[in-house]
Amino acid sequence: MEDDAPVIYGLEFQARALTSQTAETDAIRFLVGTQSLKFDNQIHIIDFDDENNIINKNVLLHQAGEIWHIGASPADKAVLTTCYNKTSDSRVVSCAAVWRMPTDWDTGSHESPDDTAHNPQTLELLCHLDDSAHGNAACVLWEPMGDGKHVISLADNHALVWDLQESSTQAKVSSTATLEGKGQLKFISGKWSPHHNCSQLATANDTAIRGWDLRTMSQIYCIENAHGQLVRDLDFNPNRQYYLASCGDDCKVKFWDVRNVQEPVKTLEEHSHWVWSVRYNHSHDQLVLTASSDSRLILSNMVSISSEPFGHLVDDDELSDGDDNHQDDKSKEPLKDSVVSTYEEHEDSVYAAEWSSADPWLFASLSYDGRLVINRVPRALKYRILL
């Protein structure tokens, strides 16, 4: 029971950007970027000690500006990207950059865990992902499971593929795609598909979701009016290549099969305000995490559209020696989609939620007031999925 209790960590600043350290597969580690217009912004490295239920934090300075988006390299633990706002001459500009964390942040924090704030180390800038012609950056996406050499940045109505060279110190635009249409189109968010050899990208702008082929940089599908209001976030099902989850300001979470975009496969309407983030669990894609500005985080069990709609098939045989009937009942039960749990630890809008890349049963969520909450999948559900 004690293990299931949430762990809460408070940041001093307001924050929106959260990612798990993708390249780190041993330690449970999240990166949080703060938003402050008046102070130096920080990147908090949150280490969670699973056994002792303790959080260790390290703070790195991000002096360039307030962080709107953060992304960790899938190849190099120390490399990350941020999108940040920079104010100069009463102009606010959104930029993106690749950074390297100082190598000794870890050791430094262990020596003086209490007063890291006093002497925080600074991130090392590797390169800017800026191309002044392309406008304000909304987010930067790493190539999933790649070697950390390719990123995509979404800036206004452009999607730019960058090649990182010279150990990420130089960035070159290798190809671009532009969203054309009436009015001021602007990408809100996007996701690089891990399927099809990482050759696809999905983006959200206004109420539409678009798929792009990165080889030709052309649009391959478009879900117009995917949501009644703005689409806020997207995620690909890690195991089913055509399945895509989206969320938006109509309080809904929708699941799409991109081969047939007329109707969503499934719609969830659990939140009572805008849904800002949707995340598939990396290993068990029936688990879907959604964060909303109604200050709630909801974990849903979407069995019917997962890659394992009938549960773990192997186990029926393994367990058949025991009490058969009981097992049969259990194996039929999980077919229902359901909300597993609603987490109400936050008191302000939750803008980000992420699964840990090390422990598939653990996730973090971040609300605007700077509260980071680490939760686990309920044990009963965990065992049911595993067994």
């Binding site: 001093e12 217009l37 104010t87 009463s90 209001q229 109604d294 200050s295």
Partner: protein
């Protein structure tokens, strides 16, 4: 003793005692003593008893003299004399009577003697005559004996000769009959001769006759058969024909078949007549139709002959109504079918049962054939009727259909009576049942489309005067037809639209119920079938009509919520509001009213479980709730959209010092006010949380500079954590979490609260995504103050508005590069000026 005597003497004049005593005395006198009487009367031994047999006068006298005085003696003597006198007279009377009788007896005897003598003479005479007669008779019979024998023989020969003559004449006679077509006579003649001819067929001459007869009869049979085949003859002729053929030992089975096939051809022509009346299929369906026809006529004797004829038939009167059609079917097909059945039964079944044919199991065979025949034809008839009924799509006049069905059903009862074991009437009932259920379905869809049409009308009505809502002098341009026409003159205000909508729906339901009720009217034959008594009422009318309609209303309402959600309000919000009120009214009263009405009209006895009122009410309530929630959402989104655009499109860093409340905010307040009016038309006010009488003043205090300053001051200080603490403190103040898109209650305040919550939360989220300059923040301050001034009155808990606006200002202060708030007094001035 004396006194006894005296008494007897005194009363002796007329009493029965006296008469008996007189008789006794007389008896005694004649010595006719009754034995046993003596011993019973001991006193009679007394010698002094004057009436006794042992009376001794001496003794008595002595006794008297000894015992009585003179006077007494004297008295005794007179008494005695009196008695003696009366006895004497009695005696005389008796003697006289007896004498008379004796005289008359003597007379009679003498007379008899004379008569007997006369009779004896006559008897003698008679016996003499008899003897003479006997003698004569014997002599006559003796003479006639011979002649009599001869005569008998002659007469025998005569009859034989006549028979022979008959036989010899038979061929000629038969021929003649044949010529004259007097078949019946021919057959009866032949029948009479047949046995004889059979018996003596070994004689060549008879054989010749027999052969001739056979030849003739064969010809006759041929002719009969021909006649039978021709089929031009009337039913009566036909039956006669069959009867004769049967008598001619034709195989009954073949006859049955022939009879039936003949009947079939006639019935089929009836059926074709009927089919021609059915409206031809539309061009696209012609292929199917002809295929269908082929399949329906496949069971007929000559389908190849039929189908071209039918398909070539023009459709002369495609518009005969169903009653006419059924009438025609009944009069032509059903009545001839009945006729066929009767004559067939007469011929093959009843007739055969009495005759010698009964032994051959003919009745059973014939019966079986008849059943198959009737079933087959009836099936085709039914399929035609069903096709015709299916064409009855219009739901205008149900009575016509009901009457047609009634007639159809009634006429089939005749078949049922004629053919007790037949499945035909049941199938007929099934057709009626199907037609009824089909009709109910049609009514349901009619109701549904009526409902949808009404909604379209309402939508139009809402769309047109929408322009003049502000003017309030709505000209009622929304042309409402049908049941909503009443709204034409008056301005199309929401309550009027609602009441006219719900009234017209209710009227429609009532009229449909009335129409459907015809099915169960007392004078309709099928209304007493168990189906129409039970299942039709409960399952048919109540469940599939009424309940389904109510469900449809709820469901379509829900669809408004779902479909409109994505396309961004394709349904006008006012319609949502109206429907929500409609559903709520349904929940509170209309549903139970409708169901009670139905139950009363149809006396529903629920054998099967039916949807309870509560379920429907719950459904309606759910729909109402959903609609209202959706209304809140849509209206909230409309306002949100304005706010969002206003925040997103402005460069908040480089803006000028605020001089005015932005127009958007005025628009928001305006819209909110008009929504408030709109909702107020349909929903009650609702409860507010108690607040101080002077709310607007308090409003300022919330925005009092001290507090605001404190918050902004917190932002200046380097200790950022304090700020978050403050935020969370505020949260604690309003510990109840604010659900933005949450369910609302059915009242105006709750609805308005929902809309305002959504709008302000959007404002907040948008503000958080922007960066502000000093004047940007000040503009937000002004705007929020303006909103505060006007919005508090709409919501149930004004703290909510305070809180959200606080949050907005707080957030924009956070997002401000140069947070220098405006003076509260300046804000107030600007707002009041605006």
């Amino acid at each position: 003793m004396e006194s006894n005597m005296d008494d007897e003497m005194v009363s002796g004049d007329g009493g029965p005692g006296r008469r008996r005593r007189v008789h006794g005395l007389l008896k005694m006198y004649y010595g006719l003593n009754e034995e046993g009487k003596d011993s019973q009367e001991p006193e009679s031994l007394d010698p002094c008893d004057i009436n006794g047999p042992h009376f001794d006068p001496e003794h008595y006298l002595n006794k008297l003299r000894r015992e009585c005085s003179l006077a007494e003696l004297m008295d005794q003597e007179t008494l005695m004399v009196k008695q003696i006198r009366s006895l004497d007279s009695d005696m005389q009377t008796l003697v006289y009577e007896n004498y008379n009788k004796f005289i008359s007896a003597t007379d009679t005897i003498r007379k008899m003697k004379n008569d007997f003598k006369k009779m004896e003479d006559e008897m003698d005479c008679l016996s003499a005559n008899m003897a003479a007669i006997t003698e004569f008779s014997a002599s006559i019979s003796g003479t006639l004996q011979d002649q009599h024998a001869q005569i008998t023989k002659l007469s025998g020969v005569h009859t034989l000769l006549r028979k022979l003559q008959f036989l010899f004449e038979l061929p000629a006679r038969l021929n003649k009959c044949l010529e004259l077509q007097a078949y019946a006579q021919a057959v009866s003649s032949h029948r009479r001769a047949r046995c004889v001819l059979q018996q003596y067929s070994h004689l060549p001459s008879f054989k010749g006759i027999q052969d001739d007869c056979h030849a003739i009869m064969d010809k006759l049979a041929q002719e009969l058969r021909q006649k039978f085949r021709d089929g031009g003859t009337s039913a009566k002729d036909l039956s006669q024909c069959v009867e004769l053929l049967l008598q001619l030992d034709e195989p009954a089975e073949e006859l049955c078949d022939k009879f039936l096939s003949h009947a079939r051809s006639r019935l089929e022509s009836d059926l074709q007549g009927l089919e021609a009346e059915i409206r031809p299929y539309p061009v696209s369906a012609v292929k199917d139709a002809s295929a269908h026809r082929l399949s329906t006529t496949a069971g007929a004797t000559s389908p190849t002959h039929n189908s071209p004829r039918t398909s070539a038939l023009p459709s002369p009167s495609s518009n005969t109504d169903i009653l006419e059609f059924i009438d025609r079917g009944c009069n032509e097909f059903v009545s001839s079918l009945c006729l066929v059945i009767t004559s067939y039964q007469e011929l093959f079944i009843n007739h055969a049962q009495t005759g010698e044919l009964a032994s051959k199991n003919i009745p059973q065979m014939a019966n079986g054939k008849l059943h198959a025949f009737v079933d087959d034809l009836a099936a085709r008839y039914f399929s035609l009727v069903e096709r015709r009924i299916q064409e009855e799509k219009g739901v205008g006049d149900n009575s016509l259909l009901v009457r047609a069905l009634d007639r159809f059903h009634r006429r089939l009862q005749a078949v049922a009576k004629l053919l007790p074991g037949s499945a035909v009437p049941n199938k007929g009932t099934e057709i009626v049942v199907r037609a009824a259920t089909e009709r109910v379905k049609q009514y349901l869809s009619a109701l549904q489309s009526f409902y949808m049409d009404s909604l379209t009308d309402v939508r139009q009505a809402l769309a047109t005067p929408r322009l003049s809502v502000a003017g309030a002098s709505g000209t009622g341009g929304g042309a409402l037809h049908g049941g909503l026409a009443s709204g034409r003159d008056a301005p199309n205000s929401l309550p009027e639209l609602l009441s006219s909508l719900s009234a017209s729906i209710l009227n429609q339901i009532k009229s449909v119920l009335a129409s459907v009720h015809l099915f169960t009217a007392k004078d309709i034959t099928f209304s007493n079938k168990p189906y129409f008594k039970g299942e039709f009422c409960s399952q048919g009318v109540r469940e599939s009509l009424v309940v389904n309609f109510i469900k449809f209303v709820c469901q379509s309402s829900r669809q408004f919520c779902e479909s409109a959600g994505d396309k961004g309000g394709s349904t006008p919000p006012a319609l949502l509001l109206l429907l929500s009120r409609l559903c709520l009214d349904y929940e509170t009263s209309t549903i139970s009213y409708i169901l009670t009405l139905t139950d009363e009209q149809f006396l529903v006895q629920h054998h099967s479980p039916v949807t309870p009122v509560t379920t429907l009410c719950a459904e309606a309530r759910e729909a109402a709730q959903k609609l209202l929630n959706h209304y809140v959402k849509v209206q909230g989104l409309i306002i949100s959209q304005m706010l969002r655009k206003s925040v997103e499109t402005r460069d908040w860093v480089n803006t000028i010092e605020p001089r005015n409340v932005r127009a958007v905010m005025k628009r928001v307040v305006e819209d909110t006010t008009s929504i408030d009016v709109q909702v107020g038309l349909l929903y009650e006010e609702g409860v507010r949380k108690a607040h101080s009488s002077d709310s607007s003043k308090r409003t300022f205090s919330v925005y009092s500079s001290s507090r605001q300053q404190a918050r902004y001051a917190a932002s200046y200080t380097p200790s950022a954590p304090m700020d978050t603490n403050l935020l969370s403190n505020i949260h604690k103040l309003f510990s109840e979490r604010i659900d933005i898109f949450s369910s609302v209650e059915f009242n105006k305040v709750s609805v308005m609260t929902g809309i305002i919550k959504i709008s302000l939360k959007t404002f907040l989220e948008c503000v958080r995504l922007r960066t502000f300059g000093r004047y940007g923040l000040q503009q937000i301050q002004v705007d929020c103050h303006y909103l505060q001034m006007y919005l508090w009155r709409f919501v149930s808990d004004e703290n909510l508005v305070h809180f959200l606006l606080d949050e907005i200002v707080g957030s924009s202060a956070h997002r401000c590069l140069d947070p220098a708030p405006m003076e509260q007094s300046v804000i107030e001035v600007i707002c009041e000026r605006g």
